[in-house]
Amino acid sequence: MSAAAKSAEAGHHGKEIRSDIHVTVEPRDRGGLDVVLDSRVSPYYGDAIQAQVRQVLETLAIKHARVVVHDEGALPYVIAARIETAARRAGLAVGQKSLPDQRPLPAPSARDRLRRSRLYLPGTEPKYAINAALHEPDAIILDLEDSVHHAQKDAARILVRNTLRAVDFGHCERMVRINQLPLGLEDLAEIIPESPDLILIPKTETPAQVGEVDRMISELKTRHNITRPIWLMPILESALGIENAAAIASTSENICALTIGLEDYTADLGVVKTPEGAESLYARTRLVNAAKAVGIQAIDSVFGDVGDMDGLRRWGQNSRAMGFEGMGCIHPSQIRVIHEAFSPSQAEIEKAQKIVAAFEEAQQRGLGVVSLGSKMIDPPVVQRALKLVARAKQMGKA
């Protein structure tokens, strides 16, 4: 037993808590393991939980401890995370991990894949993750930053790590929002070995910040033999960040998109955030331009009023018109509205398809000029139509 060992706890329990577990670990010098279990699901999984608690403690090389567990129906990967957190807080399990079985990894993510919606999942709240993909956002974000209390950063990091290994997110891109540096570097050490598809870097203001994250990821990938891409999406949330948008966008080949955080940005400006967003028009336009200048995506902020679907739809349509390709969501009910808002209309798609058909016909006939009826179609119009039809196909609309 290390000198620093002390009794420590992790997780949550109580009548209102679901799918979580509370673990207290009291280090001891001798006497072996004393596990006290109280579980809402005892009649069904009591034996399995007893066995798992002992197995996790063994993996963490803990031989003597009293462990008291109040379980509210947590899934096995959550149980493992909470025990590991309590053990580490107790000064035990130094350098040890208890990893749940790794699910097969989804196909690697493409730089220009659809990113219309990304659903935020708070990093310390286990109950939302397991069914998140059923609502079919383009991406989920396991959040270690603003939704996590400062005292719970360690717990969130371990839970998010286990979530990446154990939860099937289907076709969703698996994103993680790390903390601001330097805390974010600790997040990376725990998270990168589990091959997330994308890291969001909050409150990015300078190219140097992105560079630091990029280098650390690159080192970790090498160390853990990861070859699949892990993309970066810097979040610009301040006046300075917006001023540096173009420089930030070109920092690394791994950046696939820029996004904006409007709560912090408007706070930085000292203005009120409105549903119309006039106060952030400059910042958003500038961000779109910086992103397009280096051929990456521009992604909008979130719309905070979960009850206002009409407001959300207007925001999304306006956002698409400005050049954004997606936005964040804070509730699954926003996903469908966002997807509709960021989809081209049927009329747009049909027009683009006609142009593409005319273009292909001209190619076949070896003509340099594309024409539709009596109208000549300029090359940029053809390019836009090609992009739009390709996107519509990704959305299953063409």
């Binding site: 679901r18 799918s19 809402r40 699901v41 009649p43 069904y44 999984y45 009591g46 034996d47 399995a48 798992q52 509210e72 129906g73 947590a74 899934l75 096995p76 397991i130 069914n131 059923l134 609502h135 509730h331 699954p332 009910s333």
Partner: protein
């Protein structure tokens, strides 16, 4: 009265007691296999000479009414749950019986509620011998822990009518809580300060019981209209200050679920009805007041509007969401067995197209047909389903009593029975190898809709064909089950139960479908 335990295996392979509370039982024989014979029971013939010519049947209190009815040890006293958790009348009547000093009553509620946990004291004091009716909460635990002297008997709403009609149960005294009544005993549920909507659950009792007492807190001069209960069947009328707590009788508003997962289930069910072609002009459906069912109605409503489809009738439990369908011209009628919120109560009181129905018209299996089998689709819940599509609604997976059967068993007769359930709750899988307590045979359950996909009973090839090629996530039930077991960390343990039966579950024909065993 302890029966010597003799068990028989029924057609569903379940061990059921041969005797229950001193009466021989018929084990479940299969759907539609039991043929009833004989004539219905009838109450004694009465004469006008024994009732006041001016029609005033009022007596000062319940104690007097019960004494006048000749209540004595071992009799059957019935009550109803149209006031739901707000009901004060059932306990009032049982307490009055205790004052008279009678013992060993059989309490025969159409359902009991948590606020009636005071009945435990009466059971302990020997006033009540046992309860035949749904038990949950504290009463459910009391029964499952084996503390009740007799055996619980759980019946569906239709099964309760059948049991009364067929003389399986003889009611000595029926006590009917009435939101409005006149001194003659005519009673109505849709007016008065304690208005609850339909009084349908009390109709069988008023027709077949030896004695009928109406208890009201809103007495009106004769005539009380509409007379959902006819005064001609009533012996005594008792006026009290309050029959119940209005806040708990109907909710101000019924809540649609806000859980995204449950909303997804609700939407999948609505889409299923549309894709399968069940949602068409002139169709009918039934959905209860659960969170998923209410959300289902909202999704279906939007689809009906989109497709220009109108229903001929919908069946309640009514809520404001069904009332909106009626008011927006999306259905011609609501046929309503139970009214859950204020909008439902107001609508029934004011709109002749919102019709009170009873377990006789809707659910009784021993009749010349009923409405349930004429409904095109019904959306129900369940605590467990198994791989053979059997359903359990009465017990937790650990064997403790949880819910009454309600109209659930009766509704299985519909053209398309859909159980809308999450695939697991917390960590507890809902799809299991074998249901803990069999409440509905799988051959009558057509579709199981979960957030992870929709499973269609292989017996329903027509439904399988109807949705072929749709974008619905149709999956084999085994598939969904396997996925959930992977998530939950393997198959759950089989909870241990004792070998003493504490209650039986009746099928709609009065045969014994399964046994609830002592737990803990």
């Amino acid at each position: 009265m302890t029966d010597k335990l003799e068990l028989a295996q029924n057609a569903a392979g379940r061990q059921v007691p041969a005797m229950v509370n001193g009466k021989p039982q018929i084990p479940y024989l299969g759907v539609g296999k039991y043929q009833p014979r004989g004539r219905k029971q009838a109450p004694p013939i009465r004469s006008n000479k024994d009732y006041p010519e001016n029609g005033d049947k009022r007596v000062p209190d319940l104690e007097t009414a019960l004494r006048n009815c000749g209540l004595r040890d071992g009799m059957v006293i019935s009550s109803h749950h149209h006031l739901r958790d707000g009901d004060k009348v059932a306990l009032m009547a049982l307490e009055a019986a205790a004052k008279i000093g009678v013992k060993d009553l059989m309490w025969f509620p159409s359902a009991s509620f948590p606020s009636q946990k005071g009945a435990i004291d009466l059971l302990e004091r020997g006033v009540i011998h046992h309860i035949e009716g749904s038990m949950n909460g504290p009463l459910g635990d009391y029964c499952t822990q084996g503390k009740m002297r007799g055996m619980g008997v759980l019946r569906s709403h239709g099964g309760r009518w059948q049991a009364i009609q067929d003389a399986d149960v003889h009611i000595d005294v029926a006590v009917i809580a009435a939101p409005t009544a006149d001194a003659f005993g005519n009673a109505d549920g849709s007016h008065g300060k304690s208005a609850c909507g339909s009084l349908g659950f009390a109709l069988a009792d008023s027709t077949y019981a030896d004695h009928v007492i109406v208890v009201t807190d809103s007495l009106v001069p004769f005539p009380c209209v509409p007379w959902q209960i006819q005064g001609n069947n009533v012996d005594y009328v008792v006026e009290v200050d309050s029959i119940g707590d209005p806040a708990k009788i109907v909710s101000g508003t019924t809540q649609i679920t806000r859980s995204p997962d449950r909303l997804r289930i609700a939407e999948l069910v609505a889409r299923f009805l549309r894709e399968a072609g069940i949602m068409r002009n002139g169709f009918s459906f039934q959905a209860g007041a659960g969170g998923i069912a209410l959300a289902f109605v909202q999704y279906l409503k939007a689809m009906m509007k989109e497709d220009g489809v109108k229903a001929r009738f919908v069946r309640g439990g009514s809520t404001k969401y069904l009332v909106e369908l009626l008011n927006e011209g999306l259905t011609d009628y609501i046929l309503d067995g139970q009214t859950f919120d204020l909008d439902g109560v107001r609508s029934m009181a004011n709109d002749p197209r919102h019709v009170a129905s009873s377990p006789f018209t809707s659910y009784n299996y021993h009749g010349k047909g009923n409405f349930a089998s004429m409904v095109d689709a019904v959306v129900l819940g369940a605590t467990e389903v198994d791989i053979d599509f059997n359903g359990n609604v009465v017990t937790h997976s650990d064997g403790r009593l949880l819910h009454g059967i309600g109209g659930w068993q009766n509704c299985l007769a519909s053209g398309c029975t859909i159980l809308a359930v999450p695939s697991f709750r917390d960590r507890i899988p809902v799809i299991v190898d074998e249901v803990t307590t069999l409440t509905g045979p799988g051959e009558l359950i057509d579709v199981i809709a979960t957030e992870r996909g929709i499973a269609i009973n292989p017996l329903r090839k027509d439904l399988i064909d109807a949705v072929k090629g749709s974008s619905l996530p149709i999956r084999p039930l085994e598939d969904i089950k396997a996925e959930v077991e992977q998530i939950c960390g393997g198959k759950p343990q089989r909870p241990k139960h004792g070998d003493r039966p504490v209650a039986v579950v009746k099928w709609v024909d009065g045969t014994v479908l399964d046994t609830v065993w002592q737990v803990g």
